[in-house]
Each structure stands twice: as structure tokens, then as C-alpha cells.
């Protein structure tokens, strides 16, 4: 059976809600949408089968208030806002903490195998920046269990129609509202256009813009780039979270839970430097917020107390004192990862670790409903910036965030859809055909001067230099210039693979273009923020400057180069104060 010819044949698929991305946020949004209305259908469009989504690699846990404990919504709210260095929108954070328990409970009803206390109730563990243990966990594979639970639960609904391995390349906006998406059916190479009343972007973050990241290869900022090119601002892009305990070289995540269960971070002299030296984490030591610990590690390495290795210098995570039994009960996956990827058994040896890019606090500008300024376009999860994480996210908040805002976006998209009109289909299909022609010209485009892997490497190294844990104005401006240059070079890629069927080279080229756009937004926002706040640590401006910089940064696409703007922060009951632990 021959596939339809791309560029000329266009298949149109009509659904009420179109969800792009099949991870925790996307699946939760799809489930919420079909539950909100008994007749509508949802297209779940993902470039990978949903159980491959990067949610799967999350390890530590998901935070929510446990009824009956000595925790409170107010404490969770305060921890989150303080953790954000007071840049979070407090109304969004408040909505988040209120919804958290219900969402994790629903997931439990759907089969999520939360670890339990002896009495059968859900267990919690301490986590960074949390004053009370409120992190629900499933051994040390929480993302895996949450994703599989959501995916398997979603299979009950015939009205969630999955389009696996479909790569969305463009949003269709007609008369100012988002009406659908253009995608490549990866299997056939054909163009498939999804038309509907609303689109929800849930494509995750963009860790692959950096050379060392916990993120898998699919985290290329696709949804962020799609929204950006459709005119939506990217908010707070400069805030890139470096997770303090990633393996050197591969960047593979060693969960914060290893510190939550009592692990120590030590330097080359065996010293627990977070305790013995003043790095601002106070009593919390290893359970301080991620931005502070990452900075402490870099400073230790710069002071000559790091360990030298084939992939650069690192410090150590010592779990030996926990004992084999505790490690096998609470951190079995950590042990497996350390043995397979670092050649180290944590029962007997400390694990080499260093800060690696993990999460983007920034993303597509949405409000508390998950709605972007473009009617019909929503975003949720890491792709979105509501903002509830502000300048630094606390560990275990993001999985719950995916559920809370995924569900909200799903419900809001349904409500919006009832009042919206369908787009002008002939006009949208014509636009889609133009996009198809562009893709056809790109596929197997032999006559180019640039290689994908080369540009990717240069982008990653530039981002490491300019947007690392510690930044300085000169390096940031250099990276801004380099990103602009790469943007030009991406237009001249040479592609070898002419095949239509499962052409992953074409996908890599599209992902690279997305990454360069997102990376440029990160760099330009970073250079413009002349203060240090949360994860953005600028050596030229080491202090937080609320007077001039208590706002969200906004980056907008413009033909001549990105345009900067600001957005105010919603302050609620917690006035910004000094962030000390």
C-alpha cells in the first residue's frame, strides 16, 4: 500500500481537542477533556509512543499535602514560593497546592503503586526545600509509575484517539485563534492535519539544548518553538534548573531522593561541604534547594576540591552509610544506574555527580487556566510557564504540576471549545499544504553546507559556556550572538535521507531548528536579567534586585531577531523576603 504523497496529498483529521505530547501533562489533559464532555473526541498526537515520554525517567516523587499529617496547604505554598525566589505567581501556586492532593489521590485510584506505610496509607519522603515531608513516592521510579498509570488508564477511553509517532511542525492559527496543527506521520512521511476547537501543548522542556542534561533525546522544546513562532511569548526562559546530582558524561539523573533518604554530598577531601561551609542552605544541608546546591558544587570544583575525571570535574554523592538494605528498599534504581552507567556500586563507593541541566522553569506563557494569549491554544507541564515555579523549582513539584495544570488545561479547552467556531477549513488546508511543501523541500536536501550534528554540538557548547550554573554578561552576550548565527546556519542544512518512511534525519533537522529558537530565547533573556535570582546566577550582578527585576521576562519571535518584554508577578500573601534556609 503506497503512502499518500507528502506535499500534495493532505489527510485532514477532525477532533474537538488536540493534545500535542503524550507525557504526564498531555495524558492528564486528554483524560480531563473526555471526562468533561461525554461526546467529544481528543486527538493525542505524540512524536513517540506515550510510554516513551520523558516523564518516564523521573525518579524521586510528587509533592502534595497529605490529609491528617502535620503539613498544611499554606506550608506547601510558602515553600514553593520561597523556593521560586519570589518570582512565582502566587495565585497559580495557591491553585496548585489546593489541587495537588486530589490529583495524586486520583492517580492512586487509577492504580499508581505509591509506596506505603505499614498502616496502608501513602508514604512520603523529605525533599529539597520542603519544610515538611510531603513527597509521595513509588520506590525511586515515580515518573515511570505515574506515566504508565496515566497511559494505561487513558486506554479505557475510546474517545482519546492516539496518533503515535506524529511530529507536529506548525500550529494553524486562523483569525487570531488556534484551530489545529500540521504534523508529519513519521511512519509514512505523509502530512496529517488535525483540525479542532483547541490545541494543548504538552511537549516538555528543552534540556537537549545543553551538552550535559538528564533529559532524553526527545526533549527538544518542540511545543515551546511552535508557540513562539505563532506569536506567543516565552516567559522566564533564563531560568534553567541544574539538578545537582547527575552523572558526569551521560548526565543521567540520580534522584534527589538519594539525599532525601540521607545521602551526603562530599568533595575530593571527603568533606560534607554543604554543612561545613556557608553555601546558604543552613540546616537543610543536602536538602536545600537545587539552585543553591548546584552553585555550591561548582564553587567547590572551582576551589580545587573537585575530583578529576574523563568528562570533567565532579563531586561525590555518598550513600554508603545508608546500608545495602535501605538502598535496595528505597533506592534500587539508583543502585542499578550507578552500576550500569558510572561503574560504581553505591553500597561500597560514592557516586560521581555534577550539576546537569534538568528542567526549564520557563516556557510558553500561560495564565492560571493554562491558556495562552492566543484563543484556543493551551499549554501545560514543563512546556508551560504559568508561572508556579518562578526562578527555581522545588523537586517533586513538577510531576504534580503536570497533573494539576494538565487537568485544568483539558477542562478549560473543553469549555472554550463549546463557545468557539470552527476555522475556515479550505484556508487552513491551503496553509498546511504550504508547510508540506516546505517539509518536502527539506527532506533529503543534499545541497546544503551544514551538518545537523555539527550545529547541535556548537549550540550545546555555547549554551554551556553562556548559560551555565554561573553566568557572566560577556559570555551571555557571546552566546546570544552565536545563537543568532546558528539560526542562520540551520536554514542551510544538508540532509542525506530522501526516504519518506520513518525518516528520523528529517525529524532531527526539525528538532534542531526548534532547539536553536528556544536556546536563543534562553540566552537573550539571561543576558537581559542583570541580577541573580533563583537558578539565574550572574557573577556581574550577584544580588537579587527586586526593585528593578521583580518581573517575568518575555521573549517574542520577530523576523529581525527576538524581542524582549516584561510581565508583572502576581504577589499574594507572601511578600518577597530574603531567601535564606
Amino acid at each position: 500500500m503506497t503512502a499518500p504523497s507528502p506535499g500534495t496529498d493532505v489527510e485532514v483529521l477532525r477532533h474537538d481537542v488536540i493534545v500535542v505530547g503524550g507525557g504526564a501533562a498531555g495524558l492528564r489533559a486528554a483524560i480531563a477533556a473526555v471526562e468533561a464532555d461525554s461526546k467529544l473526541t481528543v486527538a493525542l498526537v505524540s512524536k513517540v509512543y506515550p510510554m516513551r515520554s520523558h516523564t518516564v525517567s523521573a525518579e524521586g516523587g510528587a509533592a502534595a499535602y497529605v490529609p491528617g499529617s502535620d503539613d498544611s496547604l499554606e506550608k506547601h505554598l510558602y515553600d514553593t514560593i520561597k523556593g521560586s525566589d519570589f518570582l512565582a505567581d502566587q495565585d497559580a501556586a495557591e491553585f496548585f497546592v489546593e489541587q495537588a492532593t486530589g490529583e495524586l489521590t486520583k492517580l492512586e485510584h487509577w492504580g499508581c503503586p505509591w509506596s506505603r506505610k505499614e498502616d496502608g496509607s501513602v508514604a512520603t519522603r523529605p525533599f529539597g526545600g520542603m519544610t515538611v515531608p510531603r513527597t509521595w513516592y513509588a520506590a525511586d521510579k515515580v515518573g515511570f509509575h505515574m506515566l504508565h498509570t496515566l497511559f494505561q488508564h487513558s486506554m479505557r477511553f475510546d474517545r482519546i484517539v492516539r496518533y503515535d509517532e506524529h511530529f507536529v511542525t506548525k500550529l494553524l492559527v486562523d483569525e487570531g485563534a488556534c484551530r489545529g496543527v500540521v504534523s508529519i506521520d513519521v511512519r509514512t512521511g505523509a502530512l496529517r492535519v488535525f483540525l479542532g476547537r483547541s490545541v494543548i501543548l504538552a511537549t516538555g522542556g528543552a534540556g537537549k539544548c545543553f551538552p550535559f542534561t538528564t533529559n532524553g533525546t526527545i526533549k527538544t522544546g518542540d511545543g515551546m518553538a511552535l508557540a513562539y513562532r505563532a506569536g506567543v511569548g516565552l516567559k522566564d526562559m533564563e531560568f534553567v534548573q541544574y539538578h545537582p546530582t547527575g552523572l558526569p558524561g551521560t548526565g543521567i539523573l540520580i534522584t534527589e531522593a538519594s539525599r532525601g533518604e540521607g545521602g551526603y554530598v562530599i568533595n575530593s577531601e571527603g568533606e560534607r561541604f554543604l554543612v561545613t561551609r556557608d553555601y546558604g542552605v543552613g540546616q537543610k544541608a543536602e536538602l536545600g534547594p537545587r539552585d543553591m546546591i548546584s552553585r555550591a558544587e561548582i564553587l567547590e570544583i572551582e576551589a580545587g576540591r573537585g575530583v578529576k575525571g574523563p568528562y570533567g570535574e565532579y563531586v561525590l554523592l555518598d550513600l554508603r552509610h545508608l546500608g545495602e538494605e535501605k538502598i535496595m528498599a528505597k533506592l534500587p534504581f539508583v543502585r542499578e544506574l550507578a552500576k550500569t552507567y558510572a561503574g560504581v556500586d553505591p553500597v561500597h563507593e560514592p557516586i560521581p555527580i555534577r550539576p546537569v541541566v534538568h528542567y526549564m522553569m520557563g516556557g510558553v506563557d500561560t495564565d492560571i487556566r493554562g491558556a495562552t494569549p492566543v484563543p484556543g491554544l493551551y499549554a501545560a507541564g514543563e512546556t508551560a510557564c504559568v508561572s508556579m515555579n518562578g526562578a527555581n523549582r522545588l523537586g517533586s513539584n513538577s510531576l504534580t504540576e503536570c497533573l494539576v495544570f494538565g487537568a485544568r488545561a483539558g477542562r478549560e479547552a473543553v469549555v472554550y471549545g463549546r463557545g468557539a467556531a470552527d476555522g475556515n477549513e479550505p484556508r487552513l488546508v491551503a496553509e498546511a499544504k504550504q508547510e508540506g511543501a516546505r517539509l518536502e523541500a527539506l527532506r533529503g536536501r543534499k545541497k546544503g553546507g551544514e551538518k545537523i550534528a555539527q550545529i547541535r554540538r556548537e549550540m550545546q557548547l555555547s549554551m554551556e559556556r553562556g548559560c551555565g550554573v554561573y553566568r557572566n554578561q560577556e559570555a551571555m552576550h557571546q552566546t546570544v550572538a552565536e545563537m543568532a548565527q546558528l539560526r542562520g546556519r540551520v536554514a542551510d542544512l544538508a540532509l542525506e535521507d530522501e526516504s519518506r518512511i520513518f525518516n528520523t534525519e528529517l525529524l532531527q533537522a526539525l528538532e534542531l531548528a526548534n532547539m536553536v529558537d528556544v536556546a536563543e530565547a534562553v540566552a537573550i533573556a539571561a543576558a537581559a536579567r542583570k541580577e541573580s535570582r533563583g537558578a539565574h546566577a550572574c557573577r556581574d550582578y550577584p544580588k537579587r534586585n527586586d526593585a528593578e527585576y521583580l518581573h517575568h521576562s518575555m521573549v517574542f519571535f520577530a523576523p529581525g531577531g527576538p524581542r524582549l518584554d516584561k510581565k508583572p508577578v502576581t504577589i499574594g500573601r507572601f511578600q518577597p523576603e530574603e531567601r535564606k534556609y
Partner: protein, 147 residues
């Protein structure tokens, strides 16, 4: 390097939207050591079938009277029969050991309120039962017990 598997192996119920190459297995799929052991394990079924036919012979001899029975016992002394019964014994031991190794993990964690004994205990119990029953049967057939 590769040879065909069943052409319908893992095919979806509706044909995919592109032509696929039929499923393959590596050339040594059926001859690798673990697979060879498994195939032998399943092949012992032929031996048991033959044992069943021998059992029929025994039943007919019992029906046909003492002369037939004596003739049957005499025929069992033939080297071919000895070899066959030796083979059957080897097969039974082979299958028994392999089956006993897998049996404990084939017990669900619980059936209603009932729980199986711990796996090593269950494993030991199987051998105890097997050896015990074998000894009792040998004693009966040998005329040693009951007296």
C-alpha cells in the same frame, strides 16, 4: 544472518500504512544452548507418549492372563527396553528438575487468603514429595511394604 519467523507473528489486526518486511529470527534462534535445552524439554513429550503406549501393553497383558504377563516381563529384559526405560528415567529427571525450578515462581502471591510457603521451602517440599512417593512405590512394587 536471519531467517523467517511465522509471517503473522506480532502483526497488527489491520495492515500498517506502509509495507513491512516480515518478522525474522536470528539464524541461531532455535540452536542456541538455552533454546536447545527448552526444545529438548518439550520434546520429551514424545518419550512420554511412548511410555503411555507401553502402559497400554502392560494393561493388555494384565487382561490376557498370567502367560501374557510373564511374557511381558521377560520382554522388558531386552536391551532395547532397558535403554528406553533408562531414557524415560533421564527425561523424567530432566523435566522434573526443570519444572521444580520454575514451579515456585509460578505460584501467585496469594489465592484469596491462602499464601504459598516461601520459594526455597516450596522447592524443597517438591523434592521431598517426589523422593518420598518414589520410595513408597518402590517399596510396594518390591514387595517390601506393606507386609
Amino acid at each position: 544472518m536471519a531467517r523467517p519467523a511465522d509471517p503473522h507473528a506480532m502483526q497488527p489486526s489491520r495492515p500498517g500504512r506502509t509495507r513491512t518486511a516480515p518478522p525474522q529470527v536470528p539464524d541461531d534462534f532455535w540452536t542456541r544452548p538455552r533454546m536447545r535445552t527448552y526444545l529438548l524439554f518439550d520434546a520429551t513429550g514424545i518419550v512420554y507418549l511412548l511410555v503411555g503406549l507401553v502402559a497400554l501393553r502392560v494393561a493388555w497383558a494384565l487382561r490376557d492372563g498370567k502367560a501374557a504377563w510373564d511374557a511381558l516381563l521377560a520382554s522388558f529384559a531386552h536391551p532395547a527396553y532397558l535403554a528406553f526405560h533408562g531414557l524415560a528415567l533421564v527425561c523424567a529427571l530432566f523435566v522434573g528438575v526443570r519444572f521444580f525450578r520454575l514451579f515456585p515462581k509460578a505460584q501467585p502471591a496469594h489465592i484469596g487468603p491462602a499464601k504459598p510457603p516461601p520459594r526455597p521451602v516450596l522447592h524443597a517440599m517438591l523434592y521431598a514429595a517426589w523422593i518420598g512417593i518414589t520410595l513408597v512405590l518402590l517399596a510396594i512394587l518390591g514387595g517390601v511394604w506393606p507386609k
